[in-house]
Amino acid sequence: MCDQSYLSLEKLTLAYGDSVAVADLDLSVRRGELIALLGPSGCGKTTTMRAIAGLLPVKSGKVILDGEDMTRTAPNKRAVGLVFQSYALFPHLSVYENVAFGLRLKGMKGAELDAKVQSGIASVGLAKFADRKPAELSGGQQQRVALARSMVMEPKVLLLDEPLSNLDARLRLEMRTELQRVQRETGVTMIFVTHDQAEALSLADRIVVMKNGAIEQIGTPEDIYNRPTSSFVADFVGFENIFKLEDGALKTENGSVPLSVAPGSDAPSAVGLAWRPRMVTLGTGPFRGTVRGTSFAGHSREYLLDSALGPIKAEVDASEPVHVSGSDLSFDLPVHKAAHLSRIA
């Protein structure tokens, strides 16, 4: 294990009763990193997060935090914070008391407690609301209370469950900035769960894409967005034209279509190629297709083509000449732009 690892999950297997939700998951997180667990519902991302918090018993494998094996440590002894999707504020307590809750349990009191709670509330911009009950706050404010409540505990890892998904567009931007600020100022290691790729791309240092209880790909937002390595990730980030690759030819249901240029030597193991609609060139190229449908999307125009390769999605600038439905045209799938997939579903 590399010595930079602050939180490691080793061969982590999690199950609800007999049904395995996460199998043999390995993940290594550096101190101060902001990690996104990204995937569709049921992929095991929330389950993994709950296991890190200790809310779900580990079936096998290890959770190691700051050099300590936490696998069997009770959740109240882990120093892991969690901002729930529903915020889970205590409805009978004021904002002040919500934030003071954990500190009081630590035995903190008097001026020290007060100073800490006040600065915690102030840091999320809610100083004026200290005496309010959660029900008297907006969703965004409630979330900031939940964030302050976790952060005053100075957790080793802060977990966030779908932190932006309940917020409207404006608050989303605000919260994203807030989370980045908290991370910059405190250096806390953060792991957040999301099903929204835009959220993961904009916020995370590294993204862990999950599918069916296993990691599909780990990488920086640029890696994930530009260089997906599996057909699942490619599809998830918008590479809508995905083909199997065999002996330098694209394999389709109707047979093989040879590529004009062999895929680069940088990816000799590629078993598939994928293109975004933006990467497809219309008007020139070795392939021919018939326009099945077209739609105007403001700055661009989208086409659906029928071809020997099957359906192809293309997107070109709106300023390009328009091809009407039914017209035949040539197109190209430039190999140097394609994502090289090493796994294909």
Binding site: P75, A88, F90, L105
Partner: protein, 260 residues
Amino acid sequence: MTARSLFVPATLFLLATFLIGPFLIIVAASFSAGETLAFPPQGFSLQWIVKVFTVESFRASFAMSMFLAIGGTAAALVLGIPASYALSRYRLPGAEIIRTIVSAPIIVPGIIVGLSLLRYVVVPFGVGITLALFLAHTALILPYAVRVVSASLDNLRSDIEEAAVLLGSSRLGAFFRVVMPNIKGGILSAFILGFVTSFNQVPVSLFLSGPGVRTLPIDMMAYMEIVFDPSVAALSSLLAFLSIGIVFAAERFLGFSRYV
């Protein structure tokens, strides 16, 4: 006024008379100056109200009723709160069966509950009268406790307990720190409902009462068989005003009707 517009007020008036009329008659009779329970009352006096407090057996049976209502309700809550918690938080096998069994004393007529307790529990096991009454009242109140407390637990998110645990609390600590304060209203409502149910209980208590140990309603029935004076009416009025006072205070301070 048309016949149609008279219909609603007339119906309401009849209904109110039907519901409140007997109560008003009892209240009027308790201020009678006469020697027998009669309506309309003969004259006006407070002598029967004063007399209620001097009858020794009323004092003893009132104490017994209070003990059963308070003790029985407390016991039912001690059993009922954890039961409600388990039913609402965990997917238990046979949860529905447990719910049904717990609710049974509401559905089964009191006469049957009383008779079967006497025949199959009290007599064969030689249970003392006071203990038998206490157990029976606890069992009768339990369904109310479970229902009312469950209703408030179902309205409370369960992730606040996990939040409390992650902030350093134990599981049990989380229950007392964040669950109890939020179901307090439900618990008090269950207490009042249980108290009133127990206090007004007749059929089960009738079977289980014995020499020298009676609840107040049973004692009042026994008294009326011997003496037919307005003191029973006076006592009834006092009890009714006590109940009204409790329920009114509960509604005023707790919003009782939200839970029942």
